[in-house]
């Protein structure tokens, strides 16, 4: 009988909503975000042996998702070297948007940040990780994390205050 693997599965299932939220801050399209979560689940189960009970479970999973996203970014850049930002406009005029529009607005601002700043902002401000945990997930020193976070935050504040002032 394998007691631990069932526990790992349960813990992963419990984390799925948060993994999906995190993925949505990294991939714009919901189905791309869920693809990232799927890869994360597969890799987490495939690397179950790597997980040590004393390390931070959420950080371990989020780190796998972050790496999956980086892999995806790299292969996407190879496939679409001139990836244009025009898909930004998709959904803007969507009448069904409703509560989605705030998400899209914030998402658009977030997506204009350099990737590493976006990751720092997402892990700390959206996912609620401590600086130390976020630095571990990003595999950078804590000073690097805080400077990326500060820059990302400043840029976001400028973008979002502009958009809210510009709109009627």
């Amino acid at each position: 009988m394998g007691p631990a693997i069932e526990d790992l599965r349960d813990e992963i299932i419990a984390m799925l909503p948060r993994l999906r939220r995190f993925a949505r801050s990294l991939a714009r399209e919901p189905h791309d975000a869920d693809d990232l979560v799927q890869i994360t689940v597969e890799r987490a189960l495939g690397r179950a042996a790597q997980f040590h009970g004393d390390s931070h479970f959420a950080g371990w999973l989020f780190g796998i998702l972050r790496n999956a996203w980086i892999d995806e970014c790299r292969s996407r850049r190879r496939r679409e070297p001139l990836h244009a930002p025009e898909e930004l406009a998709d959904g803007v005029g969507d009448p069904a948007a409703g509560s989605q529009s705030e998400l899209l607005c914030v998402q658009d601002a977030l997506f204009r940040l350099p990737e590493e700043q976006r990751l720092a902002v997402s892990l700390v401000l959206i996912e609620g990780f401590s600086y130390k945990e976020a630095a571990e997930i990003m595999n950078v020193p804590i000073g690097t994390l805080t400077s990326r976070l500060a820059r990302g935050r400043e840029a976001l504040q400028n973008m979002l205050s502009q958009t809210s002032e510009a709109q009627p």
Partner: protein, 248 residues
């Protein structure tokens, strides 16, 4: 006193040590501009959270739950010894939002769906104080029903009862109509669910559970083997524990 924006940011994120925090608070009281900058940091966090939090309430695609539940794991001899400490004990450290997430994805998505579909009625499981609690007829059965009283018409079938390592009484159960099985332990606030699992079909049709540990869903069986202290209660000890209202 002036502070860099990084310090104010760290204050807003609750990342400062106590002496710096106190200094920032003093400065904040003296200088409305500092207070305003901190408020701006907090407002951004709130805005990001409120934009992304609705994702938590979206139903998790069943495909993902199914993958996590069933995707094969490579066999690895070192796996058990390394991961064995992950487990259920960690549940005590899971924070309420995670439980809420668990409730949303697992219970509402899978369990409650089955319960509702089979008309067993809602309200069998509730979260309380960060724990999943048995409620309604499930709680009643856990409190009153002896394994010897299981019958084809009972909505809840009681499996093994035992004392946990923590000294609590714990009981396994299944609900054939909703194809669910679980393990609950009695605490001061009622029956806390330690594990829930889909029951296997053959168990449902097989009926009696008195000696059914071999046909228990693996997640339940492993939880029992993790938790149990000594042997399962025999019929007399089970009735005696019920007579003491499952108090240790």
């Amino acid at each position: 006193m002036t502070f860099s924006d990084e310090v104010l940011m760290a204050y807003a994120d609750d990342e400062l040590d106590e002496s710096t925090r106190t200094a920032v608070e003093a400065a904040m009281a003296a200088d409305p501009e500092i207070a305003r900058r901190i408020a701006r940091h907090r407002a951004l966090r709130e805005r990001l959270r409120s934009a992304f939090d609705p994702v938590l309430d979206e139903p998790v695609p069943p495909k993902l739950i199914d993958l996590a539940r069933n995707a094969p794991v490579p066999s690895n001899a070192s796996y058990e010894s390394q991961v064995v400490s992950l487990p259920r004990r960690r549940a005590g450290r899971i924070t309420l939002p995670q439980w809420a997430a668990l409730a949303a994805s697992l219970l509402i998505g899978v369990v409650a769906g089955r319960l509702a579909f089979h008309g067993s009625g809602p309200g069998l499981i509730a979260t309380h104080d960060g724990h999943m609690m048995a409620r309604g007829l499930l709680a009643d059965a856990l409190t009153r029903q002896l394994a010897s009283q299981n019958g084809a018409t009972q909505p809840v079938q009681i499996g093994v009862s035992f004392r946990s390592k923590a000294g609590q009484y714990c009981r396994t159960f299944s609900m054939p109509a909703s194809a669910m099985a679980g393990l609950a332990c009695h605490a001061a606030d009622g029956w806390r669910l330690q594990v829930l699992s889909g029951a296997q079909e053959q168990e449902v049709t097989a009926g009696g559970y008195r000696q059914a540990s071999s046909s228990m869903p693996p997640a339940i069986a492993s939880a029992v083997s993790d938790e149990i202290s000594g042997e399962p209660l025999d019929a007399r000890a089970e009735a005696a524990a019920r007579g003491r209202d499952w108090q240790p």
